[in-house]
Amino acid sequence: MVNPLLVLDLVERTGALPVGGTTTVPLGEVAREHETELVALWCERNGNELVGVRDGVATVRRGRSPDPFAELAPDQVPGTRLWIYTNFDCNLACDYCCVRSSPQAARRAVGADKVAQLADEAADAGVSELILTGGEPFLLPDLDDLVAACTARLPTTLLTNAMLFRGRRLQMLQRMHRDRLVLQVSLDSATPELHDRHRGARSWERAVAGIRIAQAEGFRVRVAATLEPERFTELEPFRAFLDTLGIARGDQVIRALAHRGVAESGLELTLESLIPEITVTADGVYWHPVSADHDDHLVTRELFPLRDAIDEVRRRFVEIRARADAAAQWFPCA
């Protein structure tokens, strides 16, 4: 039989805590498994939480840890968006590409069939938006079919450098669903110099031309810029330029350069510091699109069933947040 003093200690120690505070109780060596179960049952019954058991000591939180999803904006909740890297090859070789795309990169295409299955399963799993990225998706000969499979199920965003809108690729664009698709074009500056320094000569001029083509074809265009963190203080000239292009302020996305892929500097990102945005590539399911070419952010090699991958990401997110909260409780410096 377990030691009843264990529960008496639990009641006394948690009773003295503020909500959210943690305490520890030692478990006996002989009946440790039963006592762990008893602590878990007691916590469940009294609205508390067993944080964990380590080296024969149970850590208990008074009250339950806050719901980490409740603190997020609705579109940030993991499983709300699904990113799909359609391919990794690209007509550009940007010097900060987070997934090492370039003309020499292997295609590693997910393929139209799997994209269609992902769109189906995503819709069934409660995903509300699909985001297709690469590489440069317009290098794929069947991109229009692939996009159609997505827009048939969910509102979709397609990331592109907008440099290939001519000939057969322009015809593919023209076949896409204007009401269900947003084009997100990469553009880093109001003038060519900075953009071209990272992305290649004349890339700014061709991207701006591409934005105008897409708009003329009736598509909503969003612009996303990747900037060094120190440039965040000088955004207004860039925003003013985007205004002249007719890009709504809400469609002007500015993100910080991440130290990932071939980037030599930028924000250091970890599983703990990123709110996950579930990302599928030909190689597996990843924590976030910024790290979709890095095994440290690989969630699973299994793309299907997609719901399992979503559940796993959500489970890990809760675990990481609980661990961070507990660490904050354990490590006051003063």
Partner: protein, 275 residues
């Protein structure tokens, strides 16, 4: 903004601050705003109420009885928790003891909680007396009492002395213990640890805490405060955390006849109106 009513409460756990800040927020902007003052013990709080330092005291049942005694019955109870109307004292022994009722305590040792705990000390002695049993320390009387005064001043609110009484049972320093039903619930009754403890007697229900005011407090200030208090809704996510922390689902009007047993116990045991 109206002049806020000042509520007194005893700080027996850090959560008291969270609870009363939540209560203050709930009343903010309404017809009867409130603020609060925390005391370290109920004696100090009752003194403050009588001195007019606070308008309303969140009192235990013993603090209520003492306030009644010191005001000649002029004070009034405004409201209480639903759980305060059905409080009980539980007598437990080690599983298998088969004491069968209070009479089974004859010749045995009963562990009691703090001397100022109505549920774990004062009322248990009253129930023994009603059962025809005498009691005292060091073997005096039919039932030997082991008094454990772990949290005097808090009127048993911390539950610490009741847990110590249970420890005395586990360690064979006592044959049985008397505790409040809230502590019995907190350890999971006899469901979480079958084979550890068994209940051999449960008291009738009685009233526990209430909001106490003096007659000098204007009813025009009290009535809207009580009305707003009673309107707190367990199903409202903004109200629920406070209600859960304070241990209730609904504030209710006081059940005054539920204090009769404690008035009798206090008189029988000669407990002074002030501690």
């Amino acid at each position: 903004m109206s002049t806020p009513l000042i509520i007194g409460s005893v700080a027996y756990t850090p959560n008291v601050v969270t609870i009363w800040e939540g209560m203050r927020d709930y009343f903010a902007g309404g017809p009867a705003e409130m603020d609060f003052v925390l005391y370290s013990n109920y004696g100090r709080q009752v003194d403050a109420l009588l001195a007019g330092h606070i308008d309303i005291a969140w009192n235990t049942n013993l603090a209520w009885v003492r306030t009644v005694a010191q005001t000649g019955g002029e004070c009034r109870a405004l409201a209480q928790r639903d759980t305060d109307t059905v409080f009980q004292t539980i007598f437990v022994a080690r599983a298998g003891s088969a004491l069968g009722g209070l009479e089974g305590l004859k010749g045995r040792r009963l562990a009691l909680g703090s001397q100022d705990s109505a549920q774990a000390a004062i009322l248990p002695v009253h129930y023994l007396r009603q059962a025809g049993l005498t009691s005292g320390g060091d073997g005096g009387g039919d039932v030997e009492l082991l008094r454990i005064n772990s949290d005097v001043g808090k009127h048993g609110d911390t539950g610490r002395s009741e847990l110590d009484a249970l420890r005395a049972v586990v360690e064979d320093r006592a044959d049985a213990a008397a505790l409040g039903v809230n502590t019995w619930e907190a350890i999971g009754r006899d469901e979480l640890m079958p084979g550890a403890f068994e209940v051999f007697w449960e008291s009738p229900t009685y009233s526990h805490c209430n909001f106490t005011a003096l007659p000098t407090l204007d009813d025009e200030r009290v009535a809207p405060w009580v009305a707003q208090l009673l309107a707190m809704d367990f199903d409202n996510p903004a109200h629920r955390p406070i209600l859960e922390m304070e241990g209730l689902r609904q504030w209710v009007l006081p059940k005054l006849d539920g204090y009769a047993s404690l008035f009798e116990a206090v008189e029988e045991q000669g407990i002074s109106p002030r501690w």
